[in-house]
Assembly symmetry: C2
Homo-oligomer: 187 residues x 2
């Protein structure tokens, strides 16, 4: 951030009075521009013993597989955003069953909120951001071709809970180190 | 938003190619500036049969009572942010027990994420943003002097679950109409 989005003057990094962190502060109008994490929300879409996967038609991770998910917009709820992303990426209509994952990805300043949902009909197709969309049995999931660690962890817990016969909300964070990505449960 | 925070040129509201919504787009460098909801996170802090409340020393709702909570910062998890806010507003150290509420406040573009937690010691005191901090039994909660509808709903569900002997995550949204605020459970 270099300029004030309100008045166009330059901003500088300073610690405002009564604050403890450096902020981008406007040199003219003194507006403090805070940076905050973003919410990404989406769905695990179930159809009988299968889940819906999308092959990405956009960067990053073009050509790899993901669950329908994306940035939450202003003016909508996390649940509305999850259904909207599912419709946009897979032209799929779902009924949301429950909140399933709340995962922090601190290394990209995102909070992932995933819902378990039920596909309402088989009339789905690739949206603009997808090359392919399909229903997959657990044994056919392309584990080595998943786009993001959070998608792998979401699916891993999903199948663990499915086998146990009970879904329970998972909350935690994924951290990244030299060895790769690790999921830590919060509670 | 009037100016591009990267190059300082003016922005205008237009629908970018391959998008469906109006965005603030820079007239010079073409950067698209997205607006996204913010995450507010905090704690219901338990000590025996009491919960910790803070009397606000800042606007909005100066002088009204709230649970320790505030905007999540970049570089931290929702859980870290909830503990940080509890420390900042009440100088209170807690152990987080579980995720308890995920509530959308669409009218202010916030997602509230509240954790149930246990106070570790009674060495707490008002932080900079609080006039008073205290432990309250249910019968002594100042229900008519709570700062925000989401705080009232969080406490209402908390006591309902406490009586039932089981806490379960609540997820939904609060909407505002001419009659006031209404909580809708999502699932």
């Amino acid at each position: 951030m270099n300029f004030c989005s309100l008045c166009g003057a330059s901003v500088s990094l300073t610690v405002p009075e009564d604050d403890t962190r450096e902020r981008h502060v406007c040199s003219r109008c003194q507006t403090i521009h805070y940076l905050n994490p973003k919410v990404v929300t989406g769905c695990i879409v179930e159809w009988e013993d299968q889940v819906l996967l999308c092959k990405r038609a956009i960067e990053p991770r073009y050509g790899l597989w993901t669950l329908p998910a994306g940035y939450m917009e202003v003016g909508e709820s996390t649940l509305q955003a999850a259904k909207r992303e599912t419709l946009e990426e897979a032209n799929a209509r779902v009924e949301v069953l429950d909140l399933y994952m709340v995962v922090n990805l601190i290394y990209v300043d995102q909070v992932y909120i995933m819902y378990r949902s039920r596909l309402l009909d088989q009339d789905f197709s690739p949206g603009r951001e997808s090359l392919e969309v399909g229903l997959y049995m657990e044994k056919d999931i392309p584990w080595d071709l998943l786009a993001f660690p959070v998608i792998r962890e979401t699916l891993r817990y999903y199948y663990e809970d499915k086998k146990a016969g009970q879904f329970r909300i998972r909350t935690g964070e994924i951290s990244r180190d030299a060895q790769g990505y690790v999921f830590h449960l919060h509670t």
